[in-house]
């Protein structure tokens, strides 16, 4: 069975772009999460027609397939289940066209996020979504996960930056969702495709919006004796009618870990620090900086450090972005969570997170997008200690539950994938989930495209009027 599948793929892509050795398959069993699956074969198409051929072969053999970008996903979205085909888009790295007047570009899905911005920077534009993994994550992966990043506070997440996608649908048909024009006829299929975690087909070309670079930038670090004061500052800035480009928070454990790692002069005695960046035209910028400092003072800010030059700004951002490297000095392993709560609930939910971690005997660092309430509790641990993984998972579940209970959501930017699939019931009723499944089934009635993700089992595409399929009959 697998031999014939491999032979068919080799027939289209040649031997060098189809891999079925055990060693090679092992490389694609997981993404950046700690979940694993199995794949029967990994293939690397380079064109839309080749992706289409791979999907057609999968259909002919009745096997599932999963598209994969750089494998930096944190929720197991690219983990192959049940021995499906991994279709790697990593070789599709062309920027196909750039329109500098209306600021958009057609790109292949394997283009790396930061590479895209670097390639268009001479035009005074960039791709706004900036996940922490932006040096290595791909545009296709950003589309699949509707990725965010610090600067999505003001600019919006990936969905706001995707104009159209050329896709191979799960049955092998090629079409374009969305379009070059602003109001394509019919339903917003582009909009539902972005963030569908590879379950509605494979994007092979993406038309992205490019964002004007900022004429001026001011970055400041504000530190506080209590987390609550820092969080209150965030709410007050927003209530005052400002939407800074980014508002990031680091708690004390994180500040200490990062300072030990990069020596940026961070306030290690503070309970929390806010990294606030405002962008725009000079007069507006100065007014915003002044107002933010005033608000911070009302909330008992301990010190205010405004970056004096680009080097200092880069250093402050390096502190934020190297948090994940820094924690390796504390414990060998970490589990990064991703939930969102209303901004006003940040102090209360952070207290809960400290309490949960403490009860499970774990250390937790918090470094996150405070401006949009997007928490990233980082549980650090040593997997070699027996029973630790179980405690990490138990604590993680409680953190997710506490976030949802506070009026929040399961994930802000990492996606549901496998990781949170079975938590979907915390947020959605069976009726809600059936509606999501109806969309999936309209695109993929055979459930071939990345099955087993997002929607809790059993979710089937049986005809609407038939009885539910009995347990165990999944796929």
């Amino acid at each position: 069975m697998t031999d014939r599948l491999v032979a068919d793929l080799v027939g289209v892509l040649g031997r060098r772009r189809v891999h079925s050795s055990e060693a090679h398959r092992a490389l694609y069993r997981r993404d950046a999460s700690n979940m694993e699956g199995t794949t029967s074969v990994v293939c690397s198409p380079e064109t839309t027609a080749e992706v289409q051929a791979c999907v057609q072969i999968a259909n002919r053999h009745g096997v599932p397939f999963v598209a994969r970008g750089s494998g930096t996903g944190l929720s197991g979205g690219a983990v192959p289940l049940d021995g499906g085909i991994v279709i790697s888009l990593a070789r599709m790295t062309q920027v196909l066209s750039v329109d500098e007047v209306v600021r958009r570009a057609w790109v292949q899905p394997g283009v790396l996020n930061l590479d895209l911005s670097n390639q268009v920077t001479h035009l005074g534009v960039h791709f706004a979504p900036d996940p922490s993994s932006q040096q290595t994550c791909s545009i296709g992966g950003n589309v699949a996960n509707n990725s965010g990043g610090p600067h999505c506070l003001a600019e919006g997440v990936t969905n706001s930056h995707v104009i159209a996608v050329k896709v191979v649908l799960p049955d092998g048909t090629v079409t374009v969702l969305g379009g070059d024009d602003p109001e394509p006829v019919g339903y917003d299929l582009r909009g539902v495709f972005v963030g569908s975690e590879g379950m509605l087909g494979i994007a092979t070309e993406v038309c992205v919006k490019l964002t004007q670079n900022y004429p001026a930038v001011r970055t400041m670090l504000l530190d506080y004796a209590t987390v609550a004061d820092g969080a209150a500052t965030v709410s007050s800035i927003i209530a005052d009618g400002m939407v800074p480009a980014a508002i990031e928070m680091m708690d004390q454990l994180c500040l200490r870990a990062v300072e030990a790692y990069i020596h940026a002069g961070l306030p290690v005695e503070s309970a929390a620090a806010l990294l606030v960046e405002v962008v725009g035209l000079p007069n507006d910028l100065e007014a915003q900086v002044a107002r933010i400092v005033e608000i911070a003072e009302q909330h008992h800010v301990t010190s205010v450090r405004v970056a004096q030059d680009e080097a200092e700004r880069a250093l402050l951002w390096k502190g934020r972005k190297s948090a994940f490297g820094a924690i390796a000095n504390i414990e060998p392993d970490y589990y990064l969570h991703d939930t969102v709560v209303p901004r006003s609930k940040l102090p209360e939910v952070l207290d809960r997170i400290y309490e949960i971690a403490g009860r499970h005997g774990l250390q937790v660092l918090n470094v996150f997008h405070a401006g949009d309430g997007n928490l990233h509790p980082l549980l650090v641990y040593d997997a070699r200690v027996p029973g630790t993984k179980e405690r990490v998972h138990a604590a993680g579940r409680e953190i997710v539950e506490a976030s949802v209970a506070a009026g929040g959501v399961l994930t802000g930017e990492h996606g549901i994938g496998l990781e949170k699939r079975d938590y979907m019931g915390l947020m959605f009723s069976d009726v809600d989930l059936a509606a999501q499944n109806a969309l999936r089934c309209a695109f993929d009635p055979e459930m071939r495209s990345n099955p087993g993700k997002v929607l809790p089992r059993p979710a089937t595409c049986a005809d609407i009027n038939t009885m539910p399929v009995p347990e165990g009959a999944w796929i």
């Binding site: 090629v174 109001e183 939407v243 959501v409 969309l439």
Partner: protein, 291 residues
Amino acid sequence: MDLSEFAEEIGGDGPITIAGLGTRGGPVDDVRPVMAPGGVEWFRPDEMTVCCGAGTPVDELEDALAVERQTVAIPPTGTVGGALAVGRSGIRRLGYGPVRDTVLQMRFVNAAGEIVKAGGPTVKNVSGFDLCRLLVGSHGTLGFIGDVILRTRPLSRYEQWFTTTSVEPEVLLRELYRPSSILWDGERSWVLLEGHPDDVREQTAAVGLVAGDLPPALPSGGRWSVAPTELRSLVGTGRFVAEVGVGIVHHEHPAPARTVDPAVVELHRRIKQRFDPTGRLNPGVDVLALA
């Protein structure tokens, strides 16, 4: 009326249509109409979010938001639900983004009369498939919107329209920093700038814009959707006002017919079949025929 009463009224069988204030075409003729609940449920200025019934008039929502100097990127007149069901953005789309980006959470009533929640209440959320996107612009063919949580935005402290006949629209788009709107009728351009008055003054001086009148009345014969790179091709087609950088064209003539890829037609058929198998919601409305 609350949401469960709305759902009950919709029920599970028989043709049914959704009515608002009738500003965007109104309900389907000769079919039993229902109206969505109205009123602002809550408004949290420090979250920049607001929750309201779909039957809330857009003007009423804006009045509530203006108290805290906020607004929402939904075009004026009619109801919130009507604006979302039709999915057309206002003339500030260049600066504010499309109307679909304002919806964070939506509760709609499906063809079985059940309440379905899509999205979530926070400003950032990627939990599950984004059915809000599917419902915005679906013209009531997949479900009737009951209530929504929307992302608001600050009202700018200062705004001013400018006009020019000497600076080309492409130059305006290139030189100005994030204008809220650029309109062009083939000869004259109108530009809306918002922000700090000194910044606005410096920007307009740099490109040679003068403060001008409000933009002209928009021709209402047709709403064309063209690639923003193709605006020059409009010259000679009749009287129009085009949204530069966006591609919406308010034209004196009806929009030319557009072709739809058969694969997209098939996806529409399957989605409608899954969401409304008996075709009871807004019967006769074909979203692919609404150009």
